[in-house]
Symmetry: C3
Subunit: 665 residues, 3 copies
């Protein structure tokens, strides 16, 4: 890319009156250089099965082209018109929770033949009017696609076919792999297969989720292929991936294997919504950015983020600008807001740059400030490349399987704990230490470039993964794994031998028992009267050193954290959800063993680095605090990009609340 | 009316053994002068489709007539017999939550033709045996009627017809008015209309609720017309309206437009259930009473209230009497308990004057005390007329529409906030200040008689309403409005211009942004370190004075409360849910501008006034406290009605806990 | 029995690889002498309708027989194979919550003819291969059977037939008994009967629950009869009854009348799961044991209990052994764990002696210690007989009926309170005082042997029960009853006279009113500033002495607890859920009046006694504490069985945390 995309979604279709000239004037003033259009407005472009009307698309392209604003075309397939649902009732998905009724977006079965046929038609028609346009720089296939819990008879028939292939028609093999003998679930005939929705078998249910993730991969590849038939070489294809949602973008997406699905695209894209105001920490911006950058190991686009969304997301002074630069600091080549103006009806009526009155406002003002900075300094910031030493190993399969067992990990007297809680617990500690990370999966081919690999709760994997991790340590790597790692095979069948499977040698310890901690202290190196939280394994060191031990009448003989020198490497195992401060100290210990030098700064001062197109180093210094923070400049002279001045070596600098400083050197 | 109705519901049908003579004896002793019968006992009066049996009705009328106790006849249509549901399955409503199954009351579709036919039959038969009876003083049509979330295909067909008429067959106009383009909900054919229950369109859903409220109005008018064919001129027709239920009568009823529906009746009626014991404040008695009095701007009947209901509603010593007089103090001409005796089976088995043992008890004792006082002093208290200077503007449409957007007003970290929370927040402050109010709606024709109009969260209205309010201020009125007023039009389409729509001139301020307050103080006139709560708009004064400002690093430049001298009047806008004490001070400020003189007393001493049939002033002094309260008598000599003595001017009087004093002068 | 059964469930069918030799070796080492097999593995033994395969059963019997380990055969009928559900769709129950879909256990309609036919086939086939085997010592019919909320049309038709018989075809009688007039539920035709699931009539619903409990009794008797056709005289038949589940075994089972259903068996059996770690009190072990011993007034089997289950149930050092001896101390002749090894797939994957690695572990180690003690000392402990002076009267009917009225006993501002809360409140106080109890029901024929009968919340019963209790007191017994006793008849129709019905004379008090206590103190004998909790009746003493009075402005004139000398006996009534310490003092007072001598010890030191086969007294001293407890030995010389030493009279002995001492004398 040549410049940072600074954009927003734009829906001429939702406007209460003719506005486009005024909107473009305000966009130009604010430095908005790109709009995404057409996504989700299918019923406007095809009001009836045989009527097409792209006049709003053409009008917007015409005017944007004139104004020098680029356009991204979204296919509108994630919200279907009612005439389609009415004519082909099977399009509305029959889900884990029953048959959908028409209304919201994302209610369809993405494998339904009639849906696919209608989608193909609208996509081709849309491509015909848009692909050749100069202003159109790229395409977004569908939006936030997932399998939407679809589980119709037809999908389940395909699933049985998939199982037959997986087990080479050997039903006995499946019965044994999944342990179907339990509660008389053993099957005797492939053609007499119960509805998976009633199953209590965690293996079968995890497999069904994996199968349904493959449907998403297929669907997106199919859309990308359609677009490819029309698009020019200079036009990109992307998708707007989203994350596990907990009122905001929280963790790995359960319904999509982002790593597989992103292969169909020329550039990765995602949306990132995050807490704001006093809760703004930048963690989600970094986490989602690091994941998305890792998908294609390249720059990516933030297709949607908030300017203002939920009422409690109205940014404090400085926050909107800080957020935008934080996206770039993770390697984003574009930041797009959802969306230009708040709509006046329906739902989601309070998401916007411009409010209902279309007046300039405090959000618009800060967009304008940011847009004009990007216009000026963007060429220094675009195409930022990173070479990280640390990686976090994540897995959709581990997520699905671990989340099948809430009853065992959870009980009435303590809060729920799920896979992404473990992922974020580890990631957040790296983030706060200013150790930048990539994300890898069990399928990542080359992991030799990393010095540290962190493995949160990898509950399932095939046998190859622990073997590779063992070899990684032997070869000199540093491995950090948490409780519940290497517990079950790829069929969610628990390994019937010593835990962690294979890796107990690597870690130099094993365990037989686990429980929930109650009044259980942590003692040892780095500890300061912390308490174990949520879950604890009772570790028995074999060759490992005990770093942290439990403090408890019955558990005092067991370790909580061990470290083992193994081959040329170092392997740390963390058997309990220890507090974040202690975890950070253990990560520092690991970083030391991995010869990674840490910045002196800690959260709330966040340091993110990379190299730009000119081979210069770009270093973002971000103050995620409502108060001033102090920061010491490097030991060499550096250029403050936004202030356009030189910073002397080793200077103590006070960062304003919610502010950002960019060094180039 | 000639006397205060002091009554109860009486169900001979539920009696475990023959009791009527003993019951009448106990009623007479207690001063009970009226019973309501026949309501909800349809299966007894028509055990089969072709069998009618009014023997219990006739028996009760006979004996009551003999004893000189009046009778109100309720039509039994709010609970249907099973033979009816079984023969006409469509009578059981298909609702927002699925198809009802038989059992409870209020399960029917009140527009179903078979239900209407059967209702007509039982009503006519009942009228034939009751209307001519001397003891029968009036009729109650149905009971607590609502639309019960009915949403069958048939109802939805009528709704589409209603929409066609509303939009003069112009589908495009509807698409635009409701913003159906969003998420591809745009329609292309009136006859291909999706089930409203799936809709995510707030405009359409609010319209559907409004349509369904009109069905209730029609149904009640239809019943009243049937009754009118039979009744004598001296007999009244009423209804037992109920309120939004939060474990007790809380706010404006979402499913009924009480103002419209009450037009069919000769006198308004309602039920009022309220917290008791330490939670007894009298607020619900006053609120529901003020609403019901406002329906026909006349006296009303409390058709049901608790003697004892939920176990925690057993009244403390004095409370039952205090409650009864409080009803009269709001303008009630009757207070009826639900019900005479606690039933011995089924559900609701603990609601009563008499308990299961039928013995005299602490509740009965206080009913008796009250009944005998009413017999003696009732003629002074009946037909109390009020002339209030203050009015609160409420709207079912605003309620429906605001409640469509809980996701925007609410979020995981704070409690829900709905329309009635805003209504009660304002009303309760007036109540505690002893400023008596009427209720008005956007349809109220003449508002010129008021000095203050208070407008809580009037989220939607047609354009005429803000124009009338603007004129009201210009002409010298005092207007107080809260956040979220004048935000959207009658189709729940947000006005695409400056907020509050039209009224920003009246208030001399506008705003572009809003958020949830966190650690946000309030500073300014009347403030004492209060915090903003729940919701806040960032007000920008144009011509207005700032009364209260936010105290916060980013919001400190905005106002929370403004006041504007405009025309001959005064307009105060309250942009946040400020604490009640501060709100009360602002209402005092407004009252001063409106030349309303406030009593010196505040809650827990409540003062309510009016004029009786003899043109004398009646003043109730109610002590809503578990401790004594002191009260200073007027500056003139007044007559203590219940003590039958004269109170000297300016005397300091100690009110006993939960006691009541009535002055006549 | 000749020895204590110390066993576990064993599922060869769930093994991830061939293990039986190693398992038997480990069992022998640990003193496990019995395994339960075949329960719940129907699909393995009958993979298709016409294919039977008992090879795993035969293999296990062969190897266990060789090893000298006994076998209990469970019929596998509580989890059905899918081919059965698929061929006969009606087998999957249509329940109170809708139609089941296949997956979990206990989804079937136990009255379905096809289910019964298929069950008969698999039971007969299983009996044919197992009944004659030497190692097989007994049978378990089905597992944790309940009616599973089944409510199909077919079941409801039977229910109507049952009602017709109950009311001798007199529909009017039923209408009156159940108060169906309320809300127009009166019926006019037996054949036009509404779905009970929609009913709001508490009487009808309680009757339906009672009817459904009778279906369980019938089903278990039918299975037992089938088994009886095959079994030898030396083989027992039992069942694994379970209790009301609140995350553990809590109270009387709502869905089964254990007293009726156990008549079909030769020995009573149950499962007992209980809190562990810091929450371990032994109360559930004692409660469930006392109930199960009372079923046949004889020794019983604990068919399942936890070794380790939920993560928070990992036992502290000493707890597993303490638990095992506590079961024996209640009269158990067997303790079996669920189950030998944790399964590797599906659900319930963390319940076990051996973990997933099959290694020896801290749980196994303590099983081994216990097993070897039982091998040595079991003959002294088996067949322990008790003669208790106290009994607690419980009733499934009271449970069903009281739980119909949560709305009345409950409200938004306080926690739910149900029947079993009252039962456990009373039982736990007896337990902590070391007064051992039996359980009796209204159907128990002879109650004359008891000195104290305690009656928690006996909301319903026929008239005979209060009459018998009255006679019991007249004859010298001590009666203690709580609030809500003798309130309604067997049809859940509240008695229309003075409360408690009949017993108000026995107790010498009555009451008319009740409420929830708020800031309501308790004053009087034994009190120390306690507060009333949850519920309170306002008692009016007639001839009784007031033991405890309320302290409150309005309730201060009423009593909370009264005691009455009546005939030769003593009757105490407790009108409120008073705190446990005060209740314990009142029970001491009652015990004194009943001439029951209490041990000096209180919880956490628990004393349980009985007589063994040799006529010797066995006394268990159990320390349910994480600290040491001191205990004074008897005034005579006694033998410490496990330490094999003599304890001198009146010796102060320190009990280790979570330890157990057994005296023989």
């Amino acid at each position: 890319m040549k410049k940072i995309i600074y954009g927003c979604a734009y829906y001429d279709e939702y406007m209460p009156y003719e506005r486009i000239d005024k909107d473009i004037e305000m966009m130009k003033k604010a430095g908005i250089n790109t709009v995404r259009i057409a996504e989700s407005t299918w019923s406007t472009h095809q009001p009836k099965e045989d009527v097409f009307d792209f006049s709003s698309v053409i009008k917007v392209m015409d005017r944007m082209e004139e104004a020098g604003i680029d356009v991204i075309i979204g296919t509108p397939t994630y919200a279907i018109p009612y005439w389609l649902a009415e004519k082909y009732p099977d399009i509305l998905a029959d889900t884990d929770h029953g048959k959908n009724i028409y209304g919201a977006r994302q209610l369809m079965d993405i494998t339904d033949p009639d849906y696919l046929k209608a989608s193909e038609t609208i996509i081709r028609k849309l491509m015909e009017v848009t692909a050749h346009r100069k202003c159109v720089i790229g395409f977004q296939a569908d939006n936030e696609t997932k399998y939407y819990d679809a589980a119709s008879d037809r999908i389940q028939k395909h699933f049985v076919q998939y199982l037959k292939e997986k087990f080479h028609d050997d039903l006995k093999a499946m019965n044994e792999a999944y342990g179907l003998a339990y509660w008389s679930n053993r099957l005797s005939d492939w053609d007499v297969f119960p509805d998976v929705r009633g199953s209590i078998n965690g293996s079968l249910k995890a497999e069904f989720d994996r199968f349904r993730r493959s449907l998403v991969t297929q669907f997106l590849a199919w859309q990308a292929d359609l677009i490819r038939e029309y698009k020019r070489d200079d036009q990109f294809i992307t998708h707007n991936f989203d994350f596990e949602w907990r009122g905001y973008s929280y963790g790995i997406q359960p319904q999509v294997n982002h790593f597989e699905a992103s292969k169909a695209f020329t550039i990765a894209g995602c949306d990132i919504y995050h807490p704001s105001q006093d809760q703004l920490t930048g963690t989600e911006i970094a986490f989602c950015g690091d994941v998305t950058r890792s998908l294609k190991q390249d720059n990516y686009l933030v297709m949607e983020t908030q300017a203002h969304g939920f009422p409690n997301w109205l940014p404090f002074d400085g926050q909107l600008k800080l957020q935008a630069f934080s996206h770039l600091a993770s390697g984003a080549n574009g930041v797009c807001y959802w969306h230009w103006h708040s709509i006046h009806n329906s739902a989601e009526t309070y998401w916007r740059i411009l409010g209902h009155d279309f007046e300039e406002n405090r959000v618009y003002d800060e967009v304008m400030e940011t847009g004009n900075l990007l216009k000026k300094y963007g060429p220094h910031l675009v195409n930022l490349k990173k070479k990280n030493h640390a990686a976090i190993l994540v897995s959709n399969d581990a997520l699905s399987s671990l989340n099948q067992f809430p009853v065992d990990l959870d009980s009435s007297f303590r809060p729920s704990f799920f896979y992404n809680d473990a992922v974020r617990w580890m990631y957040d500690a790296f983030y706060r230490l200013n150790i930048e990370c990539d994300f890898i999966t069990p399928e990542t081919e080359d992991i030799s470039g990393y010095r540290i690999i962190a493995v949160p709760a990898l509950y399932v994997s095939d046998e190859n993964t622990p073997k590779r991790l063992d070899a990684f340590v032997k070869d000199g790597g540093v491995l950090i794994a948490s409780f519940k790692t290497a517990y079950a095979d790829e069929n969610t069948k628990v390994w019937p031998d010593r835990k962690p499977h294979i890796l107990h040698r690597t870690f130099g310890m094993h365990y037989n028992d686990f429980t929930f901690p109650v009044n259980t202290g942590l003692k040892g190196k780095y500890c300061q009267d912390e308490q174990a939280e949520t879950f604890m394994e009772l570790l028995k060191p074999d060759t490992a050193e005990v770093l942290v031990r439990y403090d408890h009448p019955s558990w005092g003989k067991y370790a909580a954290v061990t470290a083992n020198h193994y081959g040329k490497g170092y392997a740390m195992y963390i058997g309990s959800l220890i507090p974040q401060d202690l975890l950070m100290k253990l990560l520092e210990d690991s970083a030391m063993h991995a010869d990674i030098e840490l910045p002196a700064e800690r959260f709330p001062v966040i340091i993110r680095k990379g190299t730009n197109d000119n081979g210069k180093k770009i270093c973002y210094v971000l103050n995620y605090s409502s108060g001033p923070s102090s920061w010491r400049s490097p030991s060499f002279e550096a250029h403050d990009l936004l202030q356009e001045k030189t910073i002397a070596p080793d200077t103590e600098i006070t960062l304003e609340p919610w502010s950002c400083l960019i060094l180039e050197y």
